[in-house]
C-alpha cells in the first residue's frame, strides 16, 4: 500500500524536479515575472497541477487588490516569521538566523529570488512558545516592521493566536502544524501542512498497520491540555478506540507524567502518542524507566535537535516516529537538490530547521508569484485561495476547499546512531 504511495510520489517528484528546473531556467534567462509564473503553470499539464493552470488563469484575470501594500516596495517584499527560541520548545537560534533568508537569498540557483522584480527580506521574532507573546510580536512585525505576510514556524497555540491577529488586520498568514479549531473561518490563513485532525487518524492506522500494535490498552496518548489539540485527540481516539489519554498542562513538567507511562505490572504501554512541548516530551522520555515506542504528529517533535537531545538522555527517544510536513533533513538532497546547492552557495551550516524554512519559503514564493506584479494583501489572498501549489519539499497543497490544503505527510524515524537525528521512513504518503 505504502509502496504505491511512494511510487506515486516519485512520479510527482519528477514533476517537482521539473519545477525546480524551470526555476533554474528562469534564473538562467534572467527573466522573471510572467514567464516565471508560467513555469508553475507549466505543471498544469499533470493532473496534480491542474489547479496551477487555474492559478495561471487567475493571474491573468488579475487578482482583486485591496490597496494594502504594507511591506511591499518597488523592489522588496518583507516577510515576518515567528517561532519559539525560548520557552518550552526552544529551537536553535542559529538555525533561524541562517534559515530565514536562505531561500530568498540563494534559492534562485545560488542567487536571490526575484518575484516580479522584487526580492524578499525577512524579519524574525521569538514568540517564547506563548500565544500572548506571539500576538504581540506578530503585531510588531506586521505594523512596525512592515511585514507583508507572516509565517508561523511552529507551536499550535502561538500560530492560532497570531493567525487571529493576522485575520483581524487582514495580514496573510502561512503556517505548518495546526489545529482546525477556529482557523477555518480565518480568511487570511493558509496551512502548509496537514492539520492534526487530519493526521491523527492516519497515525492510528500507522500504529496498527506499520507498528503492528492493535491492542488499545497498549497505547497511550499524552496530549497537552489545550483546546487546540482537542480535535487531534478526537481524531486519534476516533480511530483507535479505548486508548488512555493523558492531558498534561502546558507548563507542566514531563517527569510528572513518567509515572503514567511505566506503572510496572499494571500497565506498560507499547506505543505512546505524544503531542506536547519538546521539553516535556524529552523529560518524560528520560524519566520513564520503561522504553515505549514514541510516535506523534507535529513539527517541533520531528526536529533533529530534539532527536539528538533525546538520544543523549540514555537513548530514550530512539526509534520514535513522527509525522512531518517534509522528509528528513538527512535526505534533503534526494528531494530538493537546489537546497544543498543553496546551502553551499551561502556557505552555511544547514540543519532541519533550515530545511523546513526552505520549504515554507518555497511555498510562499509560489503564492507571491501567483499574486502577480500588482502585489497587495488583497491580491495575495485572492491569488492563493482556490489554488494548488507544489514544491517537493512540502506536501502538495490544494486550497480549493479552504485553508487546509495538504493531504500528505512524511514519516521520520529517530536514529541515535551518529549523534541523534531523523531519517525518512516514508515520504509524502496519504495513508497507511
Amino acid at each position: 500500500q505504502f509502496e504505491g504511495v511512494h511510487d506515486d510520489f516519485v512520479a510527482q517528484g519528477g514533476e517537482n524536479e521539473g519545477l525546480g528546473g524551470s526555476e533554474g531556467a528562469s534564473a538562467d534567462d534572467g527573466a522573471t515575472g510572467g514567464d516565471g509564473t508560467e513555469s508553475t503553470g507549466g505543471g498544469g499539464d499533470d493532473a496534480s497541477g491542474g489547479g496551477g493552470g487555474g492559478g495561471g488563469g487567475g493571474n491573468d484575470n488579475g487578482n482583486a487588490g485591496n490597496g494594502d501594500t504594507t511591506g511591499v516596495t518597488a523592489d522588496t517584499i518583507t516577510i515576518g516569521i515567528h517561532a519559539p527560541l525560548t520557552g518550552a520548545a526552544p529551537l536553535k537560534q542559529e538555525s533561524f538566523a541562517t534559515g530565514k533568508d536562505l531561500y530568498w537569498q540563494y534559492g534562485n540557483g545560488g542567487k536571490p529570488v526575484e518575484i516580479h522584480g522584487r526580492t524578499v527580506e525577512t524579519v524574525f521574532a521569538d514568540d517564547q512558545y506563548r500565544p500572548s507573546t506571539a500576538r504581540q510580536v506578530c503585531q510588531t512585525m506586521a505594523e512596525e516592521q512592515q511585514a507583508f505576510a507572516l509565517i508561523g514556524a511552529g507551536g499550535t497555540d502561538q500560530i492560532q493566536a497570531c493567525a487571529q491577529y493576522a485575520a483581524s488586520e487582514d495580514v496573510p498568514y502561512l503556517s505548518t502544524g495546526v489545529t482546525e479549531t477556529g482557523m477555518g473561518s480565518l480568511d487570511t490563513y493558509f496551512a502548509a501542512s496537514m492539520t492534526y485532525k487530519q493526521q491523527t487518524p492516519m497515525l492510528a492506522d500507522y500504529i496498527k498497520n506499520e507498528l503492528g500494535v492493535t491492542d488499545a490498552s497498549k497505547v497511550a496518548a499524552v496530549v497537552t491540555n489545550t483546546p487546540n489539540f482537542d480535535d487531534a485527540v478526537e481524531g486519534f481516539t476516533g480511530s483507535f478506540d479505548g486508548v488512555d489519554v493523558f492531558r498534561p498542562d502546558k507548563n507542566e513538567r514531563g517527569s510528572s507524567a513518567a509515572g503514567n507511562l511505566c506503572t510496572g505490572t499494571v500497565k506498560n504501554y507499547d506505543v505512546v502518542f505524544v503531542l506536547t512541548s519538546p521539553t516535556f516530551y524529552l523529560e518524560m522520555a528520560a524519566a520513564s524507566g520503561c522504553r515505549p515506542q514514541f510516535v506523534g504528529v507535529g513539527v517541533s517533535m520531528g526536529i533533529d535537535q530534539v532527536a539528538s537531545t533525546g538520544c543523549s538522555a540514555a537513548g530514550s527517544t530512539e526509534g520514535a516516529r513522527f509525522f512531518n510536513p517534509t522528509p528528513a533533513f538527512a535526505d534533503a538532497g534526494e528531494y530538493d537538490p537546489d537546497f544543498l546547492a543553496a546551502v553551499d552557495a551561502a556557505g552555511i551550516e544547514a540543519d532541519d530547521v533550515t530545511w523546513m524554512m526552505w520549504g515554507q519559503s518555497k511555498v510562499l514564493h509560489q503564492m507571491l508569484e501567483q499574486a502577480g506584479e500588482a502585489l497587495d494583501r488583497g491580491a495575495f489572498m485572492d491569488a492563493v485561495a482556490g489554488q494548488k501549489f507544489s514544491t517537493g519539499v512540502f506536501p502538495d497543497l490544494n486550497y480549493s476547499d479552504g485553508p487546509f490544503g495538504a493531504t500528505q505527510v512524511s514519516v521520520l524515524r529517530n536514529v541515535c546512531d551518529g549523534g541523534g537525528h531523523y531519517e525518512t521512513d516514508f515520504a509524502f504518503v496519504n495513508g497507511f
Partner: protein, 343 residues
C-alpha cells in the same frame, strides 16, 4: 522699610516666576511623554498601554509592600486572576468591558484578601514564601483550569468597538493609571497612609495608637488585589489573548524587583521603573539590532532574558547605592517641582 518692601516683592516675583516655570516644565514633560502616543501609531499606542498597565501593577505592589510593608512574591496571581476574569466575562459571557474590568478587580481583591488572611498569621520571610507558593499554584492550577482560561491556548478578550483602536485603549489605560495615582496620593496624605506607616514599622505601636492593624492589613491586601486585578483586566484586553504562561511566577519576582528599583512609596519612581520594564522587552531587540556594533552572544533568544538581567543589575545597584530607588534619585527634581525648598 523701603528695602524690606523691595525684597518682599522680589521674593514674590521670584515665587510666581518659579511657579510658572515649574508648571511649564511639568507640562513640557507631559507633552514629551504624550508624543509617542500622538505620533507613534498603533504599535506605540500599544506600548503606552502596556507601560500604563505595568505602572498600575507597580502601584499595586507599592500599596502592599511600600505602604503596608507586606511582601508579595505572588502578585502575578492577582493580576492573572483579574485578566482571566475579564477575558471570561468578555469572551464567554459577552459582558461589556466595564463589567469585565469590575469583575477583574473584584476577583483580584478577593484572592488577595484570602492570602491576606494567611498573612495575618505568618510574617516576613514566611509570607514571602507563602505568596510565592501561591503564585506558583495559581499559575499551574487556576490558570490551567480549562473552563475558565481555555487551557494552553489561552482565553480571548476582544475589545468592544469603542475601544477597538489601540489609541482609544491607551487612553483608557492612562485613565485607570490616573485614577490609581489619585488613590495612592490620597492614601499617603490622609490618616490611612500614616496608619499604614505605623503598621509597616511596628504593629504594636500602631495598635496602641488606635490603629486596627488587622483591618488595615486586610484593607491593604484587598486594595492591592483590586488594583492588580484591574491591571489584569486591562492586560487581557490589551493583548486580547491571555494565557497561563503570561503569569509565571518569575514575572511576579521581576515586578517586585521593578517596584523596589523604582523606589517603594515613590509614585513617580514606581511609574518610571514600571514603564521602563514594560517597554524594555518590546523595544530592546530593535534598539540593539540598530546599533552599529552588535555585542557578542546577543541573540533573539536572550532578548526576553535581558530584562530580568537588567532589572537585577539595577536592583543591586539601587540596593547598594541609593536604597530609595529612582524615587530617591529624582527627589531633588520632584521636590523642586512640588515647590519644596530646603531649609
Amino acid at each position: 522699610m523701603a528695602t524690606a518692601t523691595m525684597v518682599l516683592t522680589r521674593v514674590k516675583v521670584q515665587r510666581r516666576f518659579g511657579l510658572a516655570l515649574r508648571v511649564t516644565v511639568v507640562l513640557a514633560l507631559l507633552v514629551l511623554a504624550a508624543l509617542p502616543l500622538l505620533l507613534g501609531g498603533d504599535v506605540w499606542a500599544q506600548r503606552i498601554s502596556r507601560a500604563a498597565i505595568y505602572a498600575v501593577i507597580g502601584l499595586s505592589i507599592n500599596t502592599l509592600t511600600g505602604h503596608a510593608g507586606q511582601i508579595s512574591l505572588g502578585h502575578q496571581a492577582f493580576v492573572g486572576i483579574g485578566a482571566f476574569a475579564a477575558a471570561f466575562m468578555a469572551s464567554r459571557l459577552g459582558a461589556p468591558l466595564g463589567f469585565g474590568l469590575a469583575a477583574a478587580g473584584v476577583a483580584g481583591a478577593f484572592t488577595a484578601v484570602v492570602i491576606g488572611l494567611v498573612a495575618l498569621r505568618v510574617t516576613g520571610l514566611y509570607l514571602a514564601l507563602v505568596t510565592l507558593a501561591f503564585g506558583l499554584t495559581a499559575e499551574t492550577t487556576i490558570f490551567n483550569w480549562r473552563e475558565f482560561t481555555g487551557g494552553g491556548a489561552g482565553a480571548f478578550a476582544p475589545r468592544p468597538a469603542v475601544l477597538a483602536s489601540d489609541h482609544a485603549f491607551a487612553l483608557l489605560c492612562l485613565g485607570v493609571l490616573g485614577l490609581v495615582l489619585y488613590l495612592d496620593w490620597r492614601i499617603v496624605s490622609t490618616k490611612t497612609g500614616r496608619a499604614l506607616a505605623a503598621v509597616r514599622n511596628n504593629e504594636r505601636i500602631a495598635s496602641t495608637l488606635g490603629v486596627n492593624v488587622t483591618g488595615y492589613k486586610l484593607a491593604a491586601f484587598s486594595l492591592s488585589g483590586l488594583i492588580a486585578g484591574l491591571a489584569g483586566g486591562l492586560f487581557a484586553h490589551w493583548n486580547q489573548i491571555v494565557q497561563a504562561m503570561d503569569f509565571e511566577f518569575q514575572v511576579a519576582l521581576v515586578w517586585v524587583l521593578m517596584t523596589v528599583v523604582g523606589g517603594l512609596r515613590s509614585r513617580l519612581g514606581v511609574i518610571l521603573a514600571s514603564a521602563f520594564f514594560a517597554l524594555l522587552p518590546l523595544t530592546l531587540p530593535n534598539f540593539l539590532s540598530s546599533l552599529p556594533w552588535q555585542p557578542p552572544f546577543l541573540n533573539e533568544a536572550v532578548y526576553h532574558v535581558l530584562p530580568p538581567f537588567i532589572v537585577v543589575v539595577m536592583l543591586l545597584v539601587v540596593l547598594r547605592f541609593f536604597p530609595g530607588g529612582f524615587g530617591q534619585l529624582l527627589r531633588p527634581a520632584t521636590d523642586w517641582l512640588a515647590g519644596k525648598r530646603k531649609q
